[in-house]
């Protein structure tokens, strides 16, 4: 639990935009679909201090979300592939090449 830490170390916006763009490409989403990325300070003592919740909102589909137990800045290709898997998508590996290179 690190509320003050979360407040002092704001997530890197470029990293957030890159996560969204990579997932959008990997999941072949349309312009109308929305991905949310939120870094949260967990309030439980035995949880990771900062975690990232990624959500997907699409028309005519249930909202889905996935939690990664690390700060947004530490998210890597493996984490994003896990998100795709958890959501039941067959992700295209090509989509992650850019993310790997730039991270």
């Amino acid at each position: 639990m690190e509320l003050l830490l979360q407040s002092r170390t704001k997530p890197n916006l470029d990293q957030i935009r890159k996560i969204k763009a990579t997932l959008r490409q990997a999941l072949k989403l349309s312009e109308e679909d929305t991905i949310t990325v939120t870094e949260l300070a967990c309030l439980e003592e035995d949880c990771a201090p900062l975690e990232t919740v990624i959500g997907l909102l699409r028309d005519d589909h249930p909202q889905i979300q996935h939690k990664i137990h690390k700060p947004t800045n530490s998210i890597d290709t493996h984490d994003l592939k896990e998100v795709c898997k958890a959501w039941g998508f067959d992700s295209a590996d090509m989509a992650f090449i850019t993310f790997d290179k730039e991270t």
């Binding site: 639990m1 690190e2 509320l3 003050l4 830490l5 979360q6 407040s7 002092r8 704001k10 997530p11 916006l13 957030i16 935009r17 969204k20 109308e32 929305t34 949310t36 990325v37 939120t38 870094e39 949260l40 300070a41 967990c42 309030l43 439980e44 003592e45 949880c47 975690e51 919740v53 959500g55 909102l57 909202q63 979300q65 939690k67 947004t72």
Partner: protein
Amino acid sequence: MNSPSKVPVTILTGFLGSGKTTLLNRILSEEHGKRIAVIENEYGEVGIDQALVINADEEIFEMSNGCICCTVRGDLIRVLGNLMKRRDKFDYILLETTGLADPGPVAQTFFMDDEIASEFSLDGIVTLVDAHHINQQLGRSLESTEQIAFADVILLNKTDLVKAEELDELETRLREMNRLARVHRCERANVAISTVLNLEAFNLDQVLADHPTFLEPEYPFEWTGVYALSPGSYELSLDDGPDPTMSLVMLERLDPNEEALQQGAEWCVRRYAEPASKISPGNIVPIDQHVELQLQISGQKSFAIEIDKQTSLALFAQHTAEEFNLRLGASDNAEVLPVLERTWVAQHEHDDEVGSVAIEVDGDVNPNKLNAWLGKLLREKGIDIFRMKGFLSIAGESQRFVFQGVHMLFDGQPDRPWGNEPRHNQLVFIGRNLDGNTMKREFEACLN
């Protein structure tokens, strides 16, 4: 906390028929030089052609992961995401909710997605209140209560339909529920644009500048006058006022300075807790005792005060001197004026379960203890905490730490340096069934 690069957003909320659309159209039709985008949950009510109007269908997005339960508005995330691509088309956003909308998810949306939080700043929440119907609505509807609790500004609208004394009672009730909000009375939502836009309402400094006494404790008296008196007989006169009685404690030898006044106030709070002696007009008012002046007869009422040696006498009165035209006269009928006057934050009955807790403490807080306390508080009471804001003096940090939050979502950042200013902490919470005494005690335990 508005950053110049962020687009400010004002949320307009209020129960059905409270005048939200009237206010919205009024804002849009005025010459203010702003290009405003409007997000509406209901179609076809905005009558201004040139405004960028986007409709959104209410869609709740539960972000619950076991540790944090956060409900946001999926429709707004989508709309704001699209607006980010058209940022050059507008420089302000007005978001009108439906009358039945819970303002919590709407407000939380601006703290949730980190990209949205970096592009938009929640400037303030403006709640329209139908003065004629709000008392019934507050009893029946959870949403109308929460709309009051979340507000930075409450517009008490349709005042022409309600008597003045009912308006006073209503305003008192609303202020007790939400001590942070500024209350403006109006008819047909006719208010100056500056009362609703660019409020920077999440900035506690601004709130305190507008309402400097709001962090003070509440007292059972509203007014104190300190009089320098020579030995002799004096007459305390009162005209008709708002109550048939008035409580009073008179305290001798109180130096006319702020420190002595505070000490006297604390002493008088204890006297006020004792049963009051009823004093009828024409009788002597005893010193150092809790008395209740009987003011039922109409016209001027006079009471005697006997002073046996040179003193300064402080009157701690339940109501302000102005309300009863209270005057002190010497034996030669010359009026004696107070050498010092003070108005206090009056204590009121708290009938509503929604209320405000203000904490003000000098000193530095230990960041680890504070984290632990805030985490526990938000975990256990986050659902009941509608709004919080304030600033903290964190040990080892040269700058003030400013924070705000909605339910379990907490956001803060270093503010200006403390410099020579005494380091202290001010926190305000608005919520349901909050135990203010426990919260204050627990916060004080976080001090170094």
